[in-house]
Amino acid sequence: MSAIATVGIGPFDTAWLAAALVLTTPILLAAVGELISERVGVLNVGLEGYMLAGAFFSYYVTWKADSLFLGVLASVAAGLLFAAIMALLTVEAKADQIVTGVGINLAAIGLTSYLFDQIFGNKAQIVVPTVGSLSIPGLSSIPGGFGSALFNHDWILYLAFVSVFVVWFLLYRTKWGLAVRAAGELPAAVDTAGISVKRVRWMGVLAAGGMSGLGGANLAIVQVGIFHQEMTAGRGFLALVAVIFGRWRPLGVLGACFALGGADALQLRLADESQVPSQVWAVLAGIAAAIAIYQVTRWRQGRPRPVAIALSGAVALCGVVLAAASPHIDLPDQLWRSLPYLLALVVLAGAITRAHMPTKLTLPYSRGEG
């Protein structure tokens, strides 16, 4: 980061914010696409594969055609291609979604690694030009570092965040969105209304593919300008996690992705420090306290969740104690990195989450079988 004065609480400053937004973007793109897909009932285990395909082909085409624009197009096309295979097998042929996804993942990882080795293996690392920043005039000069943290990024990042609201609008305010939501819950109703369930599901899967491909492009030709094998490093799976975490809602997914990106940025920041700064505990305590308070208000509405209250209250308490005492503990990186997965498991185990999960997720639709 440049020498702009940054404002913030401990490690949570505007530099962290900028990094968090950048790190959030690829996962967010994939997650928004996957959100649509899961709402129509298709789970894309192959999300990682779509992303990787997008990353590789954006890199390759940018280099070969000397055009970033074509590179971006190529990434979307690559994601769409793999997603089309998925849709062909799972929506048309009604093959099992999970197994197909595993196959696509293997195929995409293998293909991109192979092509990379064959085409670039004997050359020195080629760095392609990256998509530049698009600074929003006026807004990007907000002092304290906020301006540059929020409004000095590439257009793909802006697109990613805007897409959340676009998808929200489409899902909840259009007829298309209604069909999408119904396709994963009661496809028979969609069928009866004369809309092709298959077509809606195709669109969902392709959305996941295209957006993940774009996410991959973001990784390759926006952030670094290179490709290396398996560079997505599990982000596709993180996107799946984010959709669960976000309870299959656009704003929830945005929050989940930002939590992941923020934690990643934090972890990078803390890598050099020998102990966990007290501000981190304080923020954790704050989030837990907010959850606890929220659960208490639900209790007063007559929907108590004692376990949630107890848990979040306990975490908040621990956080406060740790923030005050600021002990010299250095938790392993791996624990921080496991946190999103563990939290997702906890969230999954909660009944409310399963109430929001599209009922027909992973189940193919056959007319007459509901």
């Binding site: 197994v99 197909t100 293997l106 192979y114 094998q229 791996q334 997965y341 009944a351 189940l363």
Partner: protein, 372 residues
């Protein structure tokens, strides 16, 4: 009765032909890629065959790779038949290895005791880790695909930490454990190769699982639960109990695969990723074997040959071994595509022929998964 026999035979016959067709198709695609990279077909093919079978060393390598592939494939088959399939094998492999490292490094007993303990440790570790997913499903209704996907990621982090902190070999900066003692490792079958005595696990496990599924009460119950939870419940069988046991068994098998990867591997030290990828390629093996425990053995041989041959081919003709990963993924896709095609053809045929012929073309369970 003749009809059922004929039906059964044609079922197995078509299955076998389908697998062979898919394998050949995938290999042809591979050769296409090889030729496109500038290597002649004959050179590529001979390099591959040579790499897989051309020398004692290579054959040993191929056979050694069969072990984790077969075990994971069997694990998949077990949970698949019970209708509870999951993708948690990579994580269970890793945790199995973790438990192995504990038993291997912390106890000092002669090999006759040590090795069996190590194997049990691996199985226990894998089963325990699978148990988390099983519990989450049985008690909290969590979809085990999602939970095992997450658990895989967690296991990778646990292992990364394990070999860097508590069990790290302090004499090296690399993330490795100290060398596991010989008493905890499988003896080599052919000296100075990758082939160890753990190869005996392949026929033993395949026969055991085949017997378990076909001839025991547990196997019968599993298959019943896999065919339909409603039916099973009506018969007084608890799908949660049976399903959970199947998941635990699959975890044990994956853990055993993990133990082989650690104590029958080429190096005596354990790293953070000693072969978790077998957790996915094992699924491909099971698919190619059409979910038959006995067929898993030749399917595993094919995949092992692919891995071994591909690896050597990289050195001799410069074709990246990642092509093998692509081919394995392609095989899954082709098997699924071919199977569903076949199913749809049969279904149309059945509809045309009328009600009497229905028993001969019963749908395959994996194509229309029971509601989870």
């Amino acid at each position: 009765m003749i009809n059922t026999v004929r039906a059964r035979l044609s079922g197995t016959g078509t299955d076998f032909l389908l697998s062979v067709a898919v394998a050949i198709a995938a290999l042809l695609v591979a050769m296409l890629f090889v030729v496109a990279s500038g290597v002649s077909f004959s050179r590529g093919a001979s390099a591959f065959v040579d790499g897989a079978f051309g020398s004692n060393l290579n054959v040993a390598g191929t056979l050694a790779k069969m072990v984790p592939l077969t075990l994971v494939a069997l694990g998949w088959i077990v949970v698949f038949k019970a209708g509870r399939f999951h993708v948690g094998f990579p994580g269970q492999i890793l945790v199995g290895g973790l438990f192995v490292s504990i038993v291997a490094l912390k106890i000092h007993v002669p090999i006759v005791i040590h090795l069996p303990l190590v194997l049990i440790a691996g199985m226990v570790g894998g089963a325990l880790y699978a148990g988390i997913a099983a519990w989450l499903w049985a008690k909290r209704g969590v979809n085990e695909i999602l939970s095992t996907l997450l658990l895989n990621l967690v296991a990778a982090q646990i292992l990364a930490w394990w070999v860097r902190e508590p069990f790290h070999d302090k004499t090296t900066p690399l993330p490795l454990t100290p060398s596991l003692p010989d008493s905890s490792r499988w003896p080599e079958l052919i000296t100075n190769t990758d082939l160890h005595w753990d190869i005996v696990l392949v026929p033993i496990a395949a026969l055991a699982i085949a017997f378990l599924l076909a001839r025991t009460l547990f196997g019968f119950r599993s298959r019943l639960v896999g065919a339909g939870e409603g039916v099973a419940r009506h018969a007084g069988i608890s799908p949660e109990r049976v399903g959970s046991r199947a998941i635990l068994l699959s975890g044990a098998l994956a853990g055993l695969a993990g133990s082989s990867l650690v104590v029958a591997g080429s190096t005596p030290q354990m790293g953070e990723d000693f072969g978790a990828n077998y957790g996915f390629t094992g699924i491909a093996v099971a698919l190619l074997a059409r979910n038959s425990p006995l067929a898993a053995v030749p399917a595993a041989l094919l995949f092992a040959a692919l891995e071994q041959g591909g690896g050597v081919m990289e050195g001799t003709v410069g074709i990246s071994s990642s092509l093998v990963d692509f081919i394995q993924g392609l095989m899954i896709i082709l098997v699924l595509g071919a199977t569903t095609l076949l199913y749809m053809v049969r279904r149309r045929g059945r509809a045309k022929r009328g009600p009497k012929s229905r028993s001969q073309t019963a749908p395959k369970a994996e194509l229309e998964p029971a509601a989870r």
